[in-house]
Amino acid sequence: MKPHRRKKLTIIAFIATGLSVAIGLSLYALSNSIDLFFTPTQVAAGEVMNGQRIRVGGMVKEGSVVRSQDSLHVEFMATDYSHDLLIRYDGILPDLFREGQGVVAEGMMANGSFEASRVLAKHDENYMSVEVKAALDAAERDRALPAAETEGAADGS
Amino acid sequence: MSDSHIHNPDASGAVPLLRAHALFCERDDRVLFSGLDFDVQAGDLMQVQGSNGSGKTTLLRILCGLNGSYEGELYWRGVPIEEDREGFLASLLYLGHRVGVNKILTARENLRWSCALHSPVTDNDIETALARVGLAGYADVICRNMSAGQQQRVSLARLLLNPATLWVLDEPFTTLDVHGVRTLESLLAEHVLAGGAVLVTTHHPLAVPCTLRRLNLDTRGANNS
């Protein structure tokens, strides 16, 4: 082999090795799951220390939002459907904050409840017009009704 | 001393060492040269001439591959240079305006590094070469403490250490004193007489005991004198 050919091959071999190591390591990394925020279950399990700044994510439990009359203080329960966590917050909630929607709160645990310094709404990827949403909700309500009535409703629609 | 290792496979002169064909280069919308053709044969000492700004340095840098903004073809021993650049670089020695001598290192350290890129040398070789260019005893002097001419001489010591066939020298005489000029002239003559080739730009009239070819960039033509 000519020397310059050999040198070129050395470079290519070097690059190929580097790239395969990089790909291997990133595949390994991707196979690990990541926790972006703590769930109420993890908090309940005592994975979080008091005074440690964390981020908690969950759904706002239906009917749990209590707004103060004379201040911006608000309290609600975040749930992952197996455990609930009481979140307290002083401040303006985003538009999309509503019951049954996802929420992410930053702050720290204090006396068994979560003092949030910031609350962010996590909106889903579904865009629907108001009417479509109403129709879907109606359909869902219909499905919840006894079978006979559902049939009737389906005929009617 | 530099002559023994240069063997000349093209003694017939059929294939020139370096051939430039239809070179064209413009800079800042100004044509430096166009349609430039010339050959460099083994045993040639070619002086590139031209007024200031005529593109002498640019031409040398194009030939070495330091400047890629040109059109035209370049052949080394009949093969287009880009096809075997490493083979070409192995037989090339270029000394530019900037001498390539690090001021923090000593002469020996500088030469040891630049030779490690080309061919292995011993400390003894380095001292011999330095002595030949008039720097006997300066091997371990830090280059910052040398004069410009002395730094240039350190750089010239490469001519003796590197077994290159083609020397491309850009204004190598500028900072040299009379004695240095004479040393360099004799080095050039020895090299071409041993079958090497030299391309050199200088405004200094060369006094060498061999034929001198001239390439004039103002008249765009090569001629023998």
Partner: protein, 251 residues
């Protein structure tokens, strides 16, 4: 194929072709833009969660998709510049950088305006905004490098190289930023299937707007590339003839 490819590299050819196409592109853009804007502002139903805020999507999404396409475009032009030394590719890359930077800036601004009612803050360090911001910095870097290097030839190749390096990094940056913070909603799929979360009354105007904004980008790019061609080729015969013809026409 190759012949066509290299003919494309001729600035003169591009100048003449683009001159013929330009009026049609402008007409198409005007029509699409008018339909898209009127439809999006007046006829698209309000979203069940976001209300009328959703309408900013019709600007944000097309503009953001252009900004994302800009770096790959510059990288492709960069590869062509480095490998085939095609002048036109560099001119396009040079013109695409500032336009792309403007689009990125608009995407960031509309993202912020959208974010204010939705997230409750003008700026959130969410994955998409952050990676968009960093991409903006990368673009600024390319523009800064271009203006710092005096020799146009060296600038062309240096910027081409930086664009390629940047384009390799964009996905890495995007991934790492997403990994760092995934607060934004995942990318919605634009499927036309019936079970798509988008009803056709939502996505049809969006598609129209995307086409309109793409056309706007292409037209801006062509216009500024034409200027660049004239400047760089000012010494070539065809430009001299063109200017002379223009003068006699004017007189």
């Amino acid at each position: 194929m190759w012949q066509w490819f290299f003919r494309l590299g001729s600035p003169k050819w591009f100048y003449e072709l683009s001159g013929r196409w330009l009026p049609w592109l402008v007409v198409a853009m005007t029509v699409l833009l008018t339909i898209g804007i009127v439809w999006a502002l007046l006829f698209v139903p309000a979203d069940y969660q976001q209300g009328d805020t959703i309408r900013i999507m019709y600007v944000h999404v097309p503009v953001a998709s252009i900004s994302l396409a800009c770096f790959p475009l510059m990288a492709v032009a960069g590869v062509i510049t480095l490998v085939w030394k095609m002048k036109l590719a560099d001119m396009v890359a040079k013109c695409a950088a500032p336009i792309g930077a403007w689009f990125t800036a608009v995407a960031l601004a509309t993202g912020a305006i959208w974010g204010q009612p939705i997230w409750g803050t003008w700026w959130a360090w969410d994955a998409r905004l952050t990676s968009m911001l960093i991409q903006f910095f990368l673009l600024i870097g390319v523009i800064a490098l271009r203006s710092a290097i005096e020799s146009p030839d060296a600038a062309a190749r240096a910027c081409a190289l930086l664009s390629v390096v940047g384009a390799i990094n964009v996905p890495i940056i995007k991934y790492s930023v997403e990994w760092w913070n995934t607060l934004h909603q995942p990318a919605s799929s634009f499927s036309m299937a019936e079970d798509s979360p988008f009803g056709p009354e939502i996505w049809v105007p969006l598609v129209i707007m995307i086409f309109a904004v793409y056309l706007f980008f292409v037209i801006s790019l062509i216009l500024s590339t034409r200027t660049e061609i004239l400047v760089r080729e000012r010494r070539s015969q065809w430009v001299v003839d063109l200017v002379a013809a223009d003068k006699t026409q004017g007189a």
